[in-house]
């Protein structure tokens, strides 16, 4: 899942980026408002974490602009101002959630996960696809009783496919949602990682979980 973090206070930006990446998210980050808007317009982020007081362009302005352009990304606002008016202003402009600084990092993670489930319309934090169970909270995966150990990158790919289980997911979708903007990987890395993932989750003698749709992409589980 790919996130955009726009926060001008360096220690906060750095630690959040580090923490979110360690939690398995692809994170693009900037400390400048205008740059943040440029990022938000450029890609389809799953969640945008937005500070309000920003140099260049105010967080609320960014929010207004991306909403007016019809961007569907979920937006979580970080603010040091905790008056009701401030929160209402943010939510009314189309934010999906807010957190008042200082906050617990775990809470931010939980809220980001909740927003992700919402954007893929999954209320249940456990996904079950044809005998494969994925725990979105702990990032653990089982096939039958056997727990499968995945690298963070493999897990991120599986999670994205699982969120859209039953749908055909294109390579560019995967590229957009699993890889960071500054990632040096090229697009055929997706095929490589699909290969790694297949080797870990497919069982011999059982129907394949990840199927290739020629010319269009991949599909996890039965087509819905």
């Amino acid at each position: 899942m790919r996130l955009l973090l726009v926060e001008d206070y360096r220690p906060l930006r750095q630690s959040l980026t580090k923490g979110l990446r360690e939690a398995g998210f692809a994170v693009d980050t900037t400390g400048d408002g205008k740059e943040g808007l440029w990022y938000a317009m450029g890609s389809e982020y799953d969640v945008i974490i937005l500070d309000i007081m920003l140099p260049g362009l105010n967080g609320l302005e960014i929010l207004k602009k991306i909403r007016s352009k019809g961007r569907k990304s979920h937006v979580l606002i970080l603010t040091a101002k905790d008056t009701v008016e401030d929160r209402v202003a943010g939510l009314d402009l189309g934010a999906d959630d807010y957190l008042v600084k200082p906050f617990a990092f775990e809470e931010l993670l939980a809220r980001v996960r909740a927003l992700l489930r919402r954007s893929y319309r999954r209320k249940n934090p456990r996904i079950n696809i044809e005998g494969m169970r994925i725990d979105l909270t702990t990032h653990r995966v089982w096939r039958g009783r056997q727990e499968i150990s995945l690298t963070p990158r493999e897990y991120a790919l599986l999670e994205y496919l699982a969120m859209r289980a039953g749908q055909t997911v294109s390579r560019s979708d995967i590229w957009e949602h699993v890889y960071e903007f500054n990632s040096s990987a090229s697009s055929n890395v997706v095929d490589v990682y699909i290969g790694y993932l297949r080797r870990k989750i497919e069982l011999p003698g059982r129907p394949a979980l990840i199927r290739t749709v020629r010319g269009r992409g991949y599909i996890l589980g039965a087509q819905s």
Partner: protein
């Protein structure tokens, strides 16, 4: 001193009414009494005149004409008129039959004059009497003209005075006067009672706007300072008070807003570094890491702590300056020396960024001021300059002595904002470029602090941006100790 306005008004009104009523009643009573008594007395006097004219002489004795004696006013059983004649030597002669054997009291005035007196007459009833002293009328008989000289001498008593006392029962008069007294007392009492009721009502109605005003004021709490007391139908005496109160409320509101704004700003400014520190610590602790990562996290947290410490210190100093709780010393300061010693704290940082510092203050320039405050000002100004000067830029300090003030300027190159923006530098938490918050310990209080300190030293701070991005802060300090001790 009566504290209640209502009681004061009531006492004033009622006291005034009582005083006026007493004065008027006394005047009315006196006038009516005098006219009644005069009337009574004039009737007594005419009776006395009539009696004195009716005196008949019969030798040595005198008598009254019979038809006079028979007049009904001397006969009436109730409230009769009594008379008695006295001869000059004090012998009673004729008396009215109704007197029986009693005498009327004898008193006299000068001859041919009437003297009135109030006295109790028979049965102790009140009465009034008049005394008339007159020369007895001479009755010249032919017979007496022929008499000898001796006989002539015997007729000397013809020259004697008679004193007539006429008294009349005045109980009716006194009864009328008594009635009048009671009437006046009753009327006054009634008037006072009624006016008390009216006054209570009028005063209460008159003071009602004050009560309404009090209610309006009581309804204003610290939460609704934007409320104003409606002028509406306030009487014009109270309108100025209402206007002043509303002015006061407006000032209070402004002050509260500023305080609230300031507190919100402080909270915001403290929350951001706290959030940074918390998330740095939480993310670091989330999994085990190598020593290098821990070191980075800890030094990040340390620099955040330093920044917060500085900010808290600055806030404290700022509050003290605003509340004028600082005490100042007054010493002769060598300016160039002071600026040099302040610069030492920044020379290392400046060197790293290739910034050149020139102290152009003449060595002999000195002033009388508080060295600690002035150092704090210089430290802040130089700190800002080092922070915002461009890489390989220049900072310089100058000073100029004018007739009445001393001007110290700190300038630096690399300023990227306009003169309009420059006017905001004294606002709390304003930063030229908020993205720089992460680069240093700047919290947007430095210039605000400078301005407050210079103000406390009775000086002025001026900021200007010249062409070529030269940012200058000029301090105008009044010369001499008067600057500190006004």
């Amino acid at each position: 001193m009566i504290r209640s306005l209502r009681s004061r008004l009531l006492v004033g009104i009622i006291g005034g009414i009582i005083l006026l009523l007493i004065v008027f009643s006394v005047i009315i009573y006196t006038v009516i009494r005098r006219s009644l008594i005069t009337q009574f007395d004039s009737s007594l006097a005419s009776t006395a005149q009539m009696l004195s004219a009716a005196v008949e002489q019969d030798g040595n004795t005198i008598d009254l004409e019979l038809d006079v004696r028979k007049m009904p006013e001397f006969q009436s059983a109730e409230g009769p008129t009594y008379y008695q004649f006295w001869v000059g030597d004090g012998t009673a002669t004729i008396r009215s039959p109704s007197l029986g054997k009693d005498d009327l009291p004898l008193f006299e005035g000068s001859p041919d004059s009437l003297v009135f007196r109030a006295l109790p007459i028979r049965n102790g009833r009140p009465g009034r009497a008049v005394s008339f002293k007159f020369k007895q009328k001479l009755e010249k008989h032919e017979r007496r003209e022929k008499n000898s000289e001796l006989e002539r001498d015997k007729q000397q008593p013809e020259e004697r005075f008679l004193i007539l006392i006429v008294a009349r029962d005045a109980s009716d008069l006194y009864y009328q006067l008594q009635f009048l007294r009671w009437l006046l007392i009753a009327a006054s009492g009634g008037t006072i009672t009624l006016s008390l009721l009216v006054a209570v009502f009028v005063v209460r109605e008159g003071l009602r706007p004050l009560n309404l005003l009090a209610e309006d004021i009581a309804a204003i709490s610290e939460d609704n300072l934007e409320a104003r007391i409606p002028l509406g139908s306030m009487p014009e005496e109270i309108a100025p008070i209402v206007n002043r109160l509303n002015d006061l409320l407006a000032r209070l509101k402004k002050l509260f807003d500023r305080e609230r704004h300031f507190t919100a700003d402080v909270a915001h400014e403290l929350r951001t570094p706290l959030a940074g520190m918390r998330s740095t610590l939480e993310v670091t602790l989330h999994q085990s890491r190598n020593a290098n990562e821990y070191q980075t996290a800890l030094s990040d947290c340390l620099s955040i702590t330093k920044k917060m410490q500085l900010m808290v210190n600055n806030l404290l100093i700022l509050t003290r300056f605003e509340a004028r709780q600082m005490t100042f010393r007054c010493e002769r300061i060598q300016l160039a020396e002071l600026v040099d010693s302040c610069w030492r704290s920044f020379s290392q940082r400046a060197l790293q960024r290739n910034i050149v510092f020139e102290n152009r203050i003449p060595a002999e320039t000195s002033c009388e001021s508080d060295p600690d405050s002035l150092s704090m000002v210089m430290l802040n100004l130089l700190d800002n300059a080092v922070e915002y000067t461009n890489e390989a830029g220049k900072i310089w300090a100058t000073a100029r002595l004018a007739s009445s003030f001393l001007e110290i300027s700190i300038s630096n190159t690399g300023c990227r904002f306009s003169n309009e923006e420059a006017s905001q530098v004294f606002d709390y938490f304003w930063r030229a470029d908020s993205s720089r918050t992460d680069t240093g310990i700047h919290c947007g209080l430095g210039l605000a602090l400078v301005q407050r300190i210079v103000k406390a030293l009775y000086g002025r701070t001026i900021v200007e941006v010249q062409d070529g991005g030269i940012f200058t802060v000029r301090l105008l300090l009044a010369k001499g100790p008067a600057a500190i001790y006004p």
